[in-house]
Assembly symmetry: C2
Amino acid sequence: MNDFDESIERLIEYFRTLPGVGKKTAQRYAFSIIEGEKLRAENFASAIVEAKEKIHFCKECGNYTSQEICPICESRDKKVICVVKEPKDIIAMEKIKSYSGVYHVLFGTISPLENRGPNDIKIRELLNRVQQNNVTEVIMATNPDVEGDATAMYIAKLLKPFNIKVTRLAQGVSIGSDLEFADEVTLERAMQSRREID
Amino acid sequence: MNDFDESIERLIEYFRTLPGVGKKTAQRYAFSIIEGEKLRAENFASAIVEAKEKIHFCKECGNYTSQEICPICESRDKKVICVVKEPKDIIAMEKIKSYSGVYHVLFGTISPLENRGPNDIKIRELLNRVQQNNVTEVIMATNPDVEGDATAMYIAKLLKPFNIKVTRLAQGVSIGSDLEFADEVTLERAMQSRREID
């Protein structure tokens, strides 16, 4: 490794900055670049620079976009807002093809442990949107963990005076999974939220 | 995903060209670029272009290098040649800090199944090096699989007339592994090559 060329080392180092990439994987990536076509390397490089240059957050909802307002805010029903923690959560939610509302990215959750209070995430912006757009429903889709639950509760309380529907994604055992492997908290929640079969 | 921005899609696509990278992983990589510093994206991009531009194969041994002759060929004992299948195998072998000889990359192994004969890999070049440098030992370090073994045998036969030592990496159970999980071929080979304890 020490007799290795500087420009390979540098490329390996950069691949290692990607999430979850260790030394071996970074090496494999680097070799794939070196052994691949020159044009691919050039296009790859320009795709990185271009994405970083063009993509920013939608002024309305916080989604990734290259325009001022993202295509979702541009075209969909603004009366229903789905609140998520991070922009990438929008991609996950968009798998539900039937959802026709818009989103609101909080850019974090309330976390006393990490010294993050309500003013450090985009709650005020959410309240403004609720007021301005005659919103009828806010769906809290923060993660089903302690911080996500607490943040959802907190925002639900703030929205009380607006007299609108505030909902939370259902929590329970996931479809197609095996009960045997479900953790106790999930099972308990699934039991509490059980529904009558009709 | 369809409402997704074109420049993110393009970046995700390029990350997917890396070995073993699926859609989810490529997305995570792309988001990491978008959420990271601008300078990092630019340096990452230039590292890709630079590595591809500068790195080629050493004229002598086939190792990756940015010079004409790689640092290993430049500085080490040319009388011992370790023969490997690919340039990246050199990195693996270099973990043995005590090896002071040089390398020879075959760029493949003989494979009738894939229509690759002795003339399709760098065997002639190896013979030339053996002749020119008064080589005393050739270590066959092709992979311990059918093709690697066959290629090692074939080359060993060609080297017979030179009257030099031709060796093969020892094959057996790997250090620190569990016998329980060793496959039968490895165990058989380890049994055949067993050594007396003294």
